[in-house]
């Protein structure tokens, strides 16, 4: 990576503003067409993530800010959350784009999404989504019931965790076989699994457990969490991957590409 000092240009600001608008429109459409019922603004297929997560990889903090502001406005309208609730909740999408942005910059990996074996990239979503959802279900069952009630929940937990981890690991290996191993391995972990899980935890917790005050009852935490994570995993594994493969070479040739955090 170049160490030459770069400055924020109009290109960064203008594309950030447009990307925020696009993410907002897609967020509204997703939450209306594929809602997680009972949780306004939450979608079981949040297509907007396919815009601001790749943007986080290409544009660093601008992508994270696009995620934050689009989610903030989505919280205000049409979800109807208050200013304060939206401001806290919107960090979910900020985190989602910040994780891949930080991963590629801190580990100094130059994103090269050129596909060498496309069939592995096509199989990747099935393994990554299936494995992570199974892992998540196992943990939820263990926390809710296994820890206090024991069998048969602990057996389900053990099988779900082993099978889920194995499937997710196969997904990561498939990603590494699809193209440049560093780019793809990092993308599956820090661009699909971690963003979906961490933003799901923050988003559903600030909707149901901790906010000023949480707009929804605490009992909705688990359904919202599972809907959120599953939806984001599918979108990131399928749509965001396609965006990254198709547009990374184009974006890297333009002035919107950010090597550091802001410039």
């Amino acid at each position: 990576m170049s160490t030459k000092a770069r400055r924020i240009t109009w290109m960064h600001i203008v594309s950030f503003a447009f990307a925020t608008a696009v993410s907002y429109v897609l967020g509204v459409l997703s939450s209306l067409i594929f809602p997680v019922l009972g949780a306004p603004g939450v979608s079981a297929l949040y297509v907007a993530a396919a815009v601001y997560v790749p943007l986080g990889i290409w544009m660093g903090m601008w992508g994270a800010l696009a995620g934050y502001f689009s989610c903030f406005f989505l919280g205000l309208y049409p979800s109807g959350y208050s200013l304060v609730q939206s401001a806290v909740w919107a960090f979910a999408d900020f985190i989602e784009a910040l994780i891949p942005a930080a991963a590629y910059r801190l580990l100094r990996v130059d994103p090269d999404f050129t596909l060498r074996r496309p069939k592995y990239a096509k199989l990747l979503p099935i393994f990554v989504v299936g494995g992570t959802v199974l892992l998540l279900l196992g943990i939820v069952v263990q926390v809710l019931w296994g820890a206090t009630l024991g069998e048969p929940f602990t057996t389900f937990y053990v099988y779900a965790v082993y099978i889920g981890t194995a499937l997710a690991a196969i997904g990561i290996i498939m990603g590494m076989l699809a193209g440049d191993p560093k780019t793809w391995g990092l993308y599956v972990v820090a661009g699909i699994i971690l963003p979906a899980v961490l933003s799901g935890i923050w988003g559903s917790a600030t909707l149901t457990i901790a906010n000023f005050p949480p707009p929804l009852p605490a009992e909705l935490f688990v359904p919202v969490l599972i809907g959120w994570i599953a939806g984001d995993l599918i979108v990131l594994a399928v749509i965001a991957t396609a965006m990254l493969v198709a547009l990374t070479p184009v974006v890297k040739r333009t002035a919107i590409y950010v090597e550091r955090w802001f410039a």
Partner: protein
């Protein structure tokens, strides 16, 4: 200050009547919505939830926002309300003084106890549901008040008046203009698809979704080229993102009624806090 179309008008075409509320300074209007948001924090029982709902509705009325327009969203509101009620009934077992309905859906003998999933409707679970639903309606009304009384131009003028850098003012302005640009680009891409033989009328929902998702790639490419054109235009005019312009065509300063409204907004938060502290027994 002249009345400019509110953000709601830009989003959904909701016409807002001109009232003296609309003439308040943009910061005052933001502060009023913020005070309602803060008051929600102190709503813990039905009387305070109903009071906040009435206050939010009254402010919308004073601001000239036609609440009848919400009728279009009644289905969405009803589904949210019913799912919150279902969440309380299915997932939370809140016993009360009176039990109206109780039924065990699922029972499993586990190693260290019994897992029971039961439906329980009690007076307390109904009261909790009513508080949550009322609070959601208050939240919706406070968001409507904000978006129905503030316009994108007012926000930009407010930022200019506060001597914010050009970069920030332009980002806010472009965010609002970005919706129209995106929709227009989307129709361009859709027309191009139709010209190549894609028939949207004969497609299943899933196929339509797949096609629309594919359209994201050209849409993003259009976004980059549009950003490039605007950036070049700005640079050609010699404006840098950090430029600060001392003069402004639109001048707006807080007036007497703004100060009265600000005091009122602070009093509302204080009142809700006082009531919540009184109910919680923090003060006597």
């Amino acid at each position: 200050m002249q009345l400019t179309p509110s953000i709601f008008r830009e989003f959904i075409g909701l016409e807002v009547r001109r009232t003296s509320y609309q003439d308040l300074h943009v910061l005052t209007k933001l502060l009023i919505s913020f005070s309602l948001s803060l008051s929600i924090l102190f709503v813990r029982d039905l009387p305070s939830a109903l009071a906040l709902l009435a206050l939010s509705a009254a402010l919308c009325k004073i601001a000239g926002i036609p609440l009848g327009a919400i009728r279009k969203y009644l289905v969405v509101l009803a589904s949210v309300t019913s799912f919150i009620a279902i969440a309380f009934v299915l997932f939370a077992s809140i016993p009360g003084r009176v039990t109206y309905f109780e039924h065990t859906l699922f029972r499993l003998e586990a190693e260290k106890g019994v897992l029971e999933w039961k439906i329980l409707v009690s007076d307390r679970s109904l009261e909790y549901t009513a508080v949550f639903v009322t609070r959601i309606f208050s939240m919706i009304l406070s968001a409507i008040l904000l978006l129905g009384s503030v316009s994108d131009r007012e926000l930009v003028w407010g930022l200019r008046a506060a001597k914010a850098p050009y970069g920030l003012c332009l980002a806010v302005a472009l965010f609002f203009k970005g919706f129209q640009a995106f929709v227009s680009d989307f129709f361009t891409v859709r027309d191009a698809m139709q010209a190549r033989g894609v028939d949207f009328d004969k497609m299943s929902l899933l196929e339509k979704f797949r096609i629309y998702v594919n359209a994201l790639i050209p849409l993003f490419a259009l976004l980059i080229s549009r950003s490039y054109e605007i950036s070049l235009a700005l640079e050609a005019r010699g404006i840098s993102p950090g430029s600060r312009v001392s003069s402004s065509y639109y001048e707006s300063r807080p007036r007497g009624r703004d100060y009265i409204a600000i005091v009122g907004a602070i009093l509302v938060v204080a009142l809700f806090y006082y009531y919540s502290a009184l109910v919680a027994g923090w003060i006597s």
